[in-house]
């Protein structure tokens, strides 16, 4: 009960300032038609309600299972099983990621459907899957995070030079949107599960870095999509 109350309050505190800023703008410089203001307000109510229900759903059941899967797959001790599971989890959570959908919708709107919404979503999901798998291997083999990040970003900037420049901004953005409200708790839980079994030097901290790596994958994937296009 206490956690429900906290979630509700957290969301309200988070959403109220945005509504206030828009209202202040409305009365100072915007002067939009009243219908737009109502439309915005209803949208914000839907968003807050949705956010509360969504967060409760994540905390009620999904996070614990994510951690269980992470712990369980490492018990097999087979690197390939871990890689496969990391890939699968990364892929399925990205397909469910709201930010990815919103960005793909905007991309579709701007380009008029040169590249379909689902092609973009699937490339992003493939990128995340591959890099979550890579991140799990990193935890198990205790590879320094800095080295992997440096190599990945070097590849990103190399691809950015080759590809049609119009693909660079959307590619870079794809990296940011993958890591939203489903992906973050989920792959963090998975990583912490894997790290706790493989108690390397400091197991807790090695669970981190997953989200960061997961955001490089889709950049590379979308830039490659641009090269192929």
């Amino acid at each position: 009960m206490e956690s429900i109350k906290r979630t509700v309050l957290e969301v309200i505190y988070a959403v109220l300032p945005i509504i206030l800023i828009i209202y202040i703008l409305q009365f100072s410089v915007l002067s939009l038609p009243i219908d737009d203001v109502i439309q915005f307000t209803i949208g914000m109510i839907l968003i807050s309600t949705g956010l509360i229900i969504f967060l409760l759903g994540i905390h009620l059941g999904l996070l614990a299972i994510g951690e269980d899967i992470g712990t369980k797959i490492t018990l097999f001790g087979n690197l390939w099983i871990i890689i496969l599971c990391g890939f699968l989890v990364g892929f399925v959570v990205t397909v469910a990621e709201p930010d990815v959908r919103v960005l793909a919708t905007q991309f579709d709107m701007v380009t008029g459907g040169t590249i379909s919404k689902s092609t973009l979503i699937i490339s992003i999901a493939l990128g995340v899957g591959i890099f979550v798998a890579l991140a799990l291997v990193r935890i198990i083999k205790s590879i320094p995070i800095r080295n992997i990040l440096l190599a990945s970003y070097a590849l990103v900037f190399l691809l950015a030079v080759i590809v049609d420049e119009r693909f660079v901004p959307i590619g870079m953005d794809a990296g940011g949107v993958t890591t939203g409200p489903i992906t973050v708790p989920f792959i963090l839980a998975l990583g912490l599960g894997v790290a706790s079994v493989f108690k390397s030097k400091d197991s807790a901290t090695d669970g981190f870095g997953l989200v960061g790596l997961a955001s490089v994958g889709p950049i590379i994937a979308v830039l490659l999509l641009g090269v192929l296009h």
């Binding site: 300032p17 410089v29 759903g57 709201p98 919103v102 320094p144 409200p181 973050v184 960061g212």
Partner: protein, 251 residues
């Protein structure tokens, strides 16, 4: 009035179907791993079913609000603001919006919580949150400047990432990992749906701006700024730690 309420729920069945399709692979993965991998208790099964139902309903309402409320109005706000003679005010407004929107990101909350738990309270949730808010505020302000003046994305990203990789030299690897995590987590649905839409509205209204080149890219700047701020925080922490260690030796 009634028409507006109608608009808000327009095509909600499509949003519902979209979310259903979006969480279907996840549901399959859950079922498969619960059947073959985990020794699932009755309680866990109930938890997962309720959890998935909540996610389904929550995401549908959320996306519906984004599609019918935030996106269309966000674009209009962008257009109106870029028409102003003092359109430079988009830059400070960007700072405020970035600062405030990041407080609304559920992913940031989850990350802060996991970070505090993971490092045993060494970094409090509030320190993380304020640091992220300032970082994102600066990046949205920069993104707005970019849209207004047509600065190429790479002019900001390349120096930014070089700075980030230099800073990683001075931080512990815990901070490096957390920093790059926070970059990704900071860019949630609110940033994408509201701030990016606003920026796309601005690009559509200023002559010579291409939304593909000048509008998109905002998210990547939002992702970069927290990386740098958290790394700065990390550098500060390791400096304090070193100072404390020296004082300890002296005593």
């Amino acid at each position: 009035m009634i028409e507006v309420i109608f608009t808000a729920f327009y095509d909600i069945e499509y949003t519902f179907l979209e979310v259903l399709r979006a969480i279907a692979p996840l549901t399959v993965l859950f079922i498969v791993s619960m059947v073959f991998l985990l020794e699932t208790t009755r309680e866990q099964i109930i938890r997962v079913i309720v959890g998935l139902l909540f996610v389904l309903i929550g995401l549908t309402l959320f996306l519906q609000g984004v599609y019918t409320g935030l996106m269309p109005v966000g674009e209009k706000i962008g257009i109106v603001l870029s028409n102003l003679s003092y359109s430079w005010m988009l830059i400070p407004l960007g700072f405020v919006l970035g600062f405030v929107v990041i407080m609304a990101e559920p992913a940031v909350r989850v990350l802060n919580y996991e970070v505090e738990k993971g490092v045993g309270g060494y970094i409090t949730q509030n320190t993380m949150l304020i640091t992220l808010c300032i970082g994102v505020g600066i990046s949205v302000a920069l993104a707005m400047a970019r849209v207004l003046y047509g600065i190429p994305l790479m002019y900001l990203l390349v120096p930014g990432y070089i700075l980030a990789f230099i800073l990683t030299k001075f931080c512990s690897s815990t901070f490096v990992a957390i920093a790059f995590d926070s970059g990704g987590a900071a860019t949630g649905p609110m940033t994408v749906a509201f701030i990016l839409t606003m920026a796309l509205g601005v690009t559509s209204n200023i002559e010579g701006r291409d939304p593909m080149l000048d509008g998109f890219g905002l998210i990547s700047l939002v992702a970069l700024a927290p990386i740098i701020t958290v790394l700065l925080l990390g550098t500060l922490y390791s400096m304090i730690e070193k100072k404390n260690a020296r004082q300890y030796e002296e005593v």
